[in-house]
């Protein structure tokens, strides 16, 4: 599977399966040996089972005999990548018999661990000493510290350039510094706050925040009654209401639009403020009362209206750009998923040069809303949902790009765009269930297949949000580049050069009826509202353009 040459003295040992297995068991595999063993395992299903059997017996023998490998060392230190021969099979860090006599049994090992590690464990034990059911205590499950989510934004610019808040981003406790624009924050308690820039809001919990400067409005549903915002000169505690807050220097103004709030001014008794009333509180001066002015604040209703207008502008801009993109002579397929009537099966290919390919065919799939109100998208939910198309011919380079909103990574492999077969240069673009994106290229001319993986892209925060994905196979520069939201996330050298092909293929699924495979069900779960396929390698600027324009829409 690799063009990387092995050192001459290692080559012969890599042909010996027993030696490869031994290397695996003692933690002494080189990258070349791992590749060779993987080839063996992939081509011979019995080989994998055999290795697992050897592994199990080896573990039991070590447990019985008191020996153990010291694999707690970083794996990188155990890898001798492409270096000299490993034929001596030195066990990495194995203890000899005399040093492990006391750990001859697993129980003894564990008992030792009690003493050794008891203190840190007790220190990390949670303070809640209540008895919980066995199933409810899995503190090792991934958790989130978020207290709110960024629900909308209009022309928002944040002061900290290293922090990027996108719509849908979960927000952890901490300070938000909005330079300009509007940001709507939905607390997990249900409270909704619109912050106007410039302004600074510190999220403390799902029912508590601190505003040091700026203007905001809040809508508090009954579920969030008691929601509190502190300021330098006092605090506002909600009693089920809508209010505005303007913090400038040492003075804060509170305007009640609906319902009632409690005002807790420093060193003064609390007082209630009712609908239509406003108060200004300073650190030292007395409370000054006046009439509330709702028009001075961007309320959530105003925010929604502005957001809708902003989205419409983005949508219009995308449509104009689309007309230009469609004229690119290297564009083979462009499915914008627009103008679909209910029941339509034919999905127009808007690429000007794609007439030979023709329309795609929708099988199943729901017709739903895309990135913007009125924009079409397809929803892939069932195992049968897919879009079929046929792209004949060989290619030396290609680019796939799509706007996706992933619901979840339900399958081991979640198809984005897959050739029906996987031989002779066929391509498989998919998301792995650990969040990596993979472009797999089937072997050709005697070469084995190669997978080009991105790092983990789909962490929980990215699920349920529109994300632009692109992958470029650049045959000329011999590199495969993965992009996310227009930014390069990985670049891998092309390891084998041969012509690529797509042929009969599917978006969002994979036809496996004629194929026996370990993971035959690879349907995608989520929405897709645009798909493009170029027969050349797009550069970073071009990817940024097709992603960036719409990415900005996501800010609205």
């Amino acid at each position: 599977m690799s063009d990387i040459p092995e050192p001459p003295d290692e080559r012969s040992s890599l042909d010996d399966v027993d030696e490869l297995i031994e290397r695996y068991l003692v933690g002494n595999l080189t990258e070349a040996a791992a590749e060779r063993l993987l080839e063996r395992v992939e081509t011979d299903p019995n080989m994998g089972q055999s290795i697992l059997e050897q592994f199990a017996i080896d573990t039991m023998l070590r447990s019985l005999c008191g020996a153990r490998t010291a694999m707690r060392a970083p794996i990188s230190s155990l890898v001798r990548d492409g270096g000299g021969s490993d034929r001596d099979m030195t066990r990495v860090g194995r203890f000899n018999r005399s040093t492990v006599a006391v750990s001859a049994a697993c129980i003894a090992l564990i008992a030792g661990a009690i003493v050794w590690l008891k203190k840190p464990v007790r220190e990390s034990a949670p303070s809640d000493r209540g008895r919980e059911s066995a199933q409810s205590v899995l503190l090792i499950e991934p958790t989130t510290a978020s207290v709110a989510v960024l629900a909308r934004s209009v022309d928002a610019s944040w002061s900290d350039p290293s922090r990027s808040y996108e719509v849908g981003s979960p927000l952890n406790p901490g300070r938000l510094r909005l330079k300009s624009g509007l940001a709507e924050i939905e607390f997990f308690s249900g409270a909704r706050v619109v912050l106007e820039g410039p302004g600074e809001l510190e999220l403390r919990s799902s029912i508590e925040a601190y505003c040091s400067s700026g203007r905001l409005s809040a809508e508090i549903p009954p579920s969030a009654r008691g929601f509190r915002i502190d300021t330098p000169s006092g605090a506002v505690v909600d009693l089920g209401t809508e209010f505005g807050l303007d913090v400038t220097g040492s003075e804060s103004e509170v305007h009640v639009f609906k319902g009632e709030v409690e005002l807790h001014a420093d060193s003064r008794p609390k007082r209630s403020l009712k609908e239509g009333e406003a108060a200004a509180i300073g650190r030292t001066s007395s409370v000054r009362m006046f009439a509330a002015n709702p028009t001075a604040f961007a309320t959530p209703a105003v925010m929604r209206s502005r957001s809708t207008e902003s989205l419409r502008r983005r949508y219009d801009a995308w449509r104009k750009a689309s007309a230009r993109w469609n004229l690119d002579p290297s564009l083979l397929v462009r499915l914008d998923i627009e103008g679909l009537a209910p029941g339509d099966q034919a999905l127009a290919n808007r690429a000007d040069s794609g007439s030979a390919i023709g329309p795609a065919t929708i099988v199943g799939c729901g017709r739903v809303e895309g990135r913007w109100p009125g924009k079409g998208a397809l929803e892939f939910r069932g195992v049968g949902d897919r879009v079929r198309l046929d792209v004949p011919g060989d290619l030396s380079s290609l680019t796939f790009a799509a706007w996706v909103r992933v619901n979840g990574l339900d399958r081991r492999f979640n198809s984005l765009f897959m050739s029906d077969d996987f031989k002779a240069g066929a391509t498989h673009w998919q998301i792995l269930n650990d969040g990596r994106i993979r472009l797999g290229v089937a072997g050709r001319n005697g070469a084995g297949h190669v997978d080009y993986d991105s790092p983990v892209v789909f962490t929980p925060e990215r699920l349920g949000r529109w994300v632009h994905l692109a992958v470029v196979f650049d045959g000329e520069r011999r590199q495969v580049i993965h992009y996310v939201d227009g930014r390069r996330v990985s670049s891998n050298p092309v390891r084998k050069v041969f012509a690529l092909r797509v042929g009969a293929a599917e978006i969002g699924n994979w036809s496996s009826a004629t194929r026996v495979d370990r993971s035959p069900i690879r349907h995608y779960s989520g929405r897709i509202d645009e798909f493009s396929f170029y027969r050349r390698a797009l550069d970073e600027g071009e990817i940024g353009e097709i992603a960036g324009l719409a990415a900005a829409a996501d800010d609205s």
């Binding site: 990258e31 070349a32 791992a34 592994f55 707690r72 018999r97």
Partner: protein
Amino acid sequence: MNREETHAAQVFMSHHGFVMGLALKHAPWPGLAEDVLQQVFLEFIAKADRWDLDTDPKPLLATMTRHVAQRYWRERTREMPEMMRKLADHLRMLAEERTAPARYEEETDALRRCLEKLPAKSRSLIDMYYYADLSTAEIACQTGTRTDTVCRAICRLREKLRICINRSTQGGEAYV
């Protein structure tokens, strides 16, 4: 250790084979299963007062083991070079696809019986490799053979032990 922790430790000890079997299934990489076993033990003890130890702890231990194994697997494979990671992932997929229940404890008992039946020459090889912790090269040097011959011999020996274990756990006689 307080009383609850002691009780939890006893419960765990009586199920450590069960946990180890699952750890081997979910983290089939040398050394990792032992790490998972220890971590599950520590987490189990740390929350000793939360468990209802009068009920069957296997569902809890199974869930804990799966989660710890997943976590450790992510941490370990993240550091691996590409091919190594792919091999590891592939082996884990194969291990998790196995439908046979993990019977680590039962099989370890059977292995003990099988070891007793080993011919002297095979037993000597086990002693050198697993007890004396000699490398295959050192064994080859001592026995005047080649390293690859030693590797093959150890692999064949493990295969024979597997057959013996299977026979023994199915009610047959343990012989190699």
